[in-house]
């Protein structure tokens, strides 16, 4: 017989967004304690921003992993199960184990899906003969191995033609690799290429200006509007499509760091909660669902026109918390998200540009100095302070 449970608030996804919102709600309302459930099948939780540094040999990947059970906030239940379908009209959802969860309010924070099969030949080539990627816990070591064993030749770093988590990450690892190649004495006999599906190095001009200088200083060749479509591992060739001319371009590689295609999770796409692209269709300011008022969406799975980062979630979570509580009290939704996001652009070992901006791509800088300059202090903040703030501040609903 099918199992049925009811919660006041059901949260789909125990990533950064799901746990942050759960912790905030449990802190804000004692009545909600014991009436919130987080549904997620994963047994581990990862602090993914650290993977750039892990791939560059500047951090240990073990520091990015924690047991999920240790992070579920007090007063919140965790259902270790996967959601298979939603019926928002009936305020209910189904899980893989056959449980029907009914709810008064739903928060969708399901993250995004890495589509390893989206690039032909990538899945089989990954982790072997110089093909690497920072985008999973299993493959992140392969990046550091590939960088260390690189003896010169062509090193290619890609950026796909899809939304990605942290828009700057595909190039951060390239800057670290370039630094390491200089240290190990192979840079002179190497060519470093940044092949990006985008048309500029970065969307916000203030930071793009700095990054253009960094690329120039490092002698990195940029190839824009190039989308990686195939990896021919047997002959060490990367096949790109020119997004303007639709012509194919084949480049030989000795090291290939791939940023895979990312898309909305399939179980979301099949629901009536999403837009045409498969992303949860929410109001960009209140984060309330456009059709179902008792549903909120945030994080990577939401169709917000901003860069998908943990820093963005840090600003979205309080908005969802306040607006959901306001809705419970029949009050107007006054909390607004302005599209704030942040990208700590590592430009080398001990150097970082801290980009912060909003929906209008206007800088929204935190510190009282020009953050478009490369700084050691900002590198220390990313590497040493932010992980601690993440585990003890964000996931506890404090920051």
């Amino acid at each position: 017989m099918a199992n049925q449970v009811h919660y006041t608030v059901a949260i789909v996804g125990a990533g950064t967004a799901g746990i942050s919102v759960a912790a905030r709600l449990a802190r804000a309302s004692k009545q909600l304690k014991g009436n919130i459930v987080i549904i997620d099948p994963a047994s581990k939780h990862y602090y993914q921003p650290l993977w750039t540094l892990v791939g560059g040999g500047a951090a240990k990947k073990e520091d990015s992993e924690r047991e999920m059970s240790s992070l579920i906030p007090e007063g919140v239940d965790w259902m270790q199960d996967a959601v298979t379908s939603f019926q928002p009209e009936q305020n209910q959802l189904q899980t893989q184990a056959g449980t029907t969860v009914t709810y008064d309010y739903l928060v969708v924070a399901a993250g995004l899906h890495i589509h390893w099969d989206g690039i032909k030949g990538l899945k089989d080539a990954l982790g072997k003969d110089g093909v690497c990627s920072n985008y999973s816990y299993e493959s992140v070591d392969s990046t550091w191995e590939a960088i260390q064993s690189f003896k010169g030749g062509t090193a290619i770093f890609t950026h796909p033609n899809s939304p990605v988590k942290c828009g700057g990450a595909p190039q951060k690892i390239m800057y670290l690799a370039d630094d390491y190649f200089r240290k190990s004495g192979v840079r002179k006999q190497s060519e470093v290429i940044f092949a990006s599906a985008k048309s500029v190095i970065f969307d916000v001009k203030k930071y793009a200006d700095t990054l253009d200088q960094v690329v120039k200083r490092k002698g990195i060749q940029t190839k824009y509007k190039r989308n990686l479509i195939e990896v021919r591992a047997d002959v060490k060739e990367a096949v790109f499509e020119n997004l303007d001319t639709k012509e194919q371009e084949v480049i030989k590689y000795d090291l290939l760091h791939v940023t895979p295609i990312m898309k909305a999770p399939d179980f979301l796409k099949e629901s009536s909660l999403t837009d045409q692209g498969g992303w949860v269709d929410v109001d960009p300011y209140t984060l309330q669902h456009k059709t179902y008022p008792n549903v909120f969406g945030l994080g990577d799975c939401a169709n917000l026109p901003t860069s998908k980062t943990g820093a963005a979630i840090r600003k979205q979570a309080p908005v969802v918390e306040n607006n959901l509580l306001a809705l419970m009290r029949d009050e107007p939704l006054t909390a607004h998200y302005n599209g704030y996001t942040s990208c700590p652009l590592v430009t080398g070992y001990n150097k970082l540009v801290l980009a912060e901006f909003d929906y209008n791509q206007n800088p929204q800088e935190t510190f009282p100095f020009d953050q478009s300059k490369e700084r050691f202090s900002m590198y220390v903040m990313k590497k040493d302070m932010l992980p601690v703030v993440y585990w003890n501040g964000m996931l506890k609903g404090l920051m």
Binding site: D63, V380, D384, P387, V388, W391, N392, G393, K396, L398
Partner: protein
């Protein structure tokens, strides 16, 4: 006319009594009658006691006097009431501050319990100071070894040893530095004259 109305009333009452729900309610009431009787008697006793106390002026006076004595240290003056009102006025701001303090305290508490983050921070600090401590350790090691060797050596330093020493790159570097210092001092002195 009046009789008809009376008859209608009675009919309605009988109709009500034929309702199964009403019948069930009456049955429940009858079952609970003993408990209802006890409750009414208890209330009656309580009422009698209260009336008796109210009449007993002496006991009442003594009771109020004792209460006044006990409350004396906490007597609320007008000043206290004004302060309380002022405090109430500041409550929203105080709440904000207390909430912020609570967050800081919770963050500190979380960090105190989080051994993994403590180790991470400790390793980070070690990573930054390691190059410096390594250099210091190296310098101390060189100094110690040189000291031990010099203490063991008994023979005098010959002119040939000095000549060999002068050709040593480290000595040359030191001498060049000394030479430059002498040059700079000389130039500065000439400028100041």
């Amino acid at each position: 006319m009046n009789e008809m109305k009376e008859q209608q009333k009675n009919d309605t009452a009988f109709e009500g009594l034929s309702d199964p729900e009403v019948q069930e309610a009456i049955q429940t009431l009858i079952q609970k009658l003993p408990k209802i009787k006890d409750a009414v008697l208890a209330a009656e006793q309580g009422l009698e006691f209260a009336t008796s106390v109210m009449k007993d002026q002496q006991s009442l006076r003594s009771l109020f006097e004792r209460a006044e004595e006990q409350m004396a240290p906490f007597r609320i003056e007008k000043e206290s009431i004004v302060a309380l009102m002022a405090l109430m006025d500041k409550m929203p701001k105080i709440l904000k501050l207390v909430s912020a303090l609570e967050q800081v305290a919770d963050l500190a508490e979380s960090l105190m319990k989080d051994k993994e983050s403590q180790q991470y921070l400790f390793a980070s600090v070690q990573g930054y100071i390691k190059p410096v401590t390594q250099q210091i350790d190296h310098a101390v090691e060189v100094f110690q070894e040189a000291k031990e060797r010099s203490e063991q050596k008994q023979q005098s330093v010959s002119i040939f040893d000095l000549y060999k020493l002068l050709k040593d790159p480290t000595v040359q570097k030191g001498l060049r530095f000394a030479q430059s210092v002498v040059e700079v001092i000389g130039e500065k002195q000439r400028h100041s004259k």
